[in-house]
Each structure stands twice: as C-alpha cells, then as structure tokens.
C-alpha cells in the first residue's frame, strides 16, 4: 500500500508494518495507525509516521541509547492492552523534539511508546515525571557520542580504500 507523508514522500509500507494504537497518541487521539519509518540519514533517530495523516510523524529513538539506566514503570493492565507481549516482543521508543539547534534536542522519557512487535499493537505509557524521567531529557550528549562512535568506525574502511588505491599505482 502507498501512504502519503510530508517528510518521506511515499515510503513503501506493507500492511504488516502498520501498528495500531487503540487510544492513539496523546495530542493525536484520532490517529490510530502508525508505521515506523527507518530513515538511514537520521540514524539512530527513526520516525513514527501516522498512516492517516501525512503531516504527523514523530522522531523516535531507543531510550537506552540516550540513558542506559532508563527505567520504565508499566503496569499489567497497560501491557494487557497491547496483547501482553513477552520481553522479546516489546519495542520501546520515545518521542524526541528536534529543534534546528541539535544541541537542544530532547527525548521524552516520561512517556515511552510500547509496541508489541508480534501483534502490532502500540500504546504510549504516561508516567509521573521525575528528574530521571524528564519530559525534556537532554539527548544531545548521547547523540554526539553515538555519532563519534560511528565516525570512529569509518577510518577502518578508509584505510582499506587507501590500500587499494596504492595497489593500483
């Protein structure tokens, strides 16, 4: 199927990509269907795209990348509402705010989005906010560390490329 999106044009989506949010997301209660768009250019940030509204897509990230000791408080009723996934079946992502100044990027740790990868059901859990689970938790330092790590891996490939050039000459 084809969906229209403002950010990504018309990404190819198959029906099993679609995650249903029975209650929608807070602020977008009327939108019940989302797809995760994996965008290589924005790694490690991915996108939660509303299937039924091209203008709605939220940047999301694996919260443990930003805060390795992140803790969630989820009760059984909330897990039940997405089909009681096992630990392996749960995907946890958190919405980000990406201002033009990337140094001010934040991730909302107080409202994780839980997705049952088996049943394709999703729900945003609202936790009482605390300093540890801030709504605007600074994400830049962890993002920069991620980018530096990725950069550090590149020179290995570059050296290999240099060798091949030397062999040619």
């Amino acid at each position: 199927m084809i969906i229209e999106t403002h950010r990504f044009g018309r990404p190819p989506i198959t029906p099993d990509h679609i995650i249903s949010f029975g209650e929608g997301l807070h602020g977008f209660e009327q939108l019940k269907r989302y797809a995760i768009i994996l965008c290589e250019a924005t790694e490690p940030i991915q996108w939660l795209q509303a299937v039924d509204d091209p203008t709605v897509s939220l940047p999301i990230i694996n919260p443990f990348l930003i805060k390795p000791d992140y803790e969630l408080d989820v009760d059984d009723a909330e897990l039940h509402s997405i089909g009681t996934p096992s630990v392996e079946e749960i995907l946890i992502v958190n919405a980000m705010v990406l201002p033009e100044k990337i140094r001010e990027a934040t991730v909302n740790l107080s409202a994780p989005v839980l997705i049952n990868l088996r049943s394709k059901q999703g729900r945003q859990i609202v936790m009482e906010y605390s300093q540890a689970n801030a709504i605007r938790y600074p994400a830049f330092e962890a993002l920069a560390a991620y980018y530096r790590e990725q950069e550090a891996r590149k020179p290995e490939k570059k050296e290999q490329a240099d060798v091949s050039i030397n062999q040619k000459t």
Partner: protein, 90 residues
C-alpha cells in the same frame, strides 16, 4: 462539571472502587489520598497535558532535517577542537 464541597478527612467515591480523601489543606494546596485498584492509573492532570504538548512539539520538530544533520556534523567536530587560542596573547 459536578462540583462538590468536601471538608478535611471527607472523601468522594468514584464508581464504587475509587475513594479520594481530603487529607490536608494548606493555603492553595490540597493533599488528597487516593485508594484505587492497581489497574486504575492515577496521574496528575498536567502530566497528561504536558505529554500531549510534547507529542505535538515532537511532530512539528525536525522539519529541516538537512539543517539538523549539518548542525550535528559540526557538533561532532566541536569536541576535537580543544587547542586553546593562546597565540593572540603574544
């Protein structure tokens, strides 16, 4: 909206299973005790409001991806520039 007046230590019952008791009043602050089944999620109103605002802000952010990742690339370079500019002092 149903409006009720309660005194200290008086309570309200919601749906038979949820009891909210006024525990204390101090100026403009009211302490409430809530007895509810574990399956009932109790949240401050502003927590939900802020989640809604945060989601909307999230969805409207990152519109200029090129600028963001150009900025990120520059930020990546930034930590490497650690040499202090002391030459001008001479």
């Amino acid at each position: 909206m149903l409006v009720l007046t309660r005194k200290l230590e008086e309570s309200l019952l919601l749906g038979g299973e949820i009891r909210i008791t006024v525990l204390g009043v101090n100026g403009d602050k009211v302490r409430l005790g809530i007895d509810a089944p574990r399956t009932v999620k109790v949240l401050r109103g502003e927590t939900v409001d802020q989640t809604r605002d945060a989601n909307r802000l999230s969805a409207s952010s990152g519109m200029n991806l090129a600028a963001i990742f150009k900025d990120a690339a520059q930020a990546m370079e930034a930590p490497r520039v650690e040499t202090p500019k002391e030459e001008k002092q001479d």
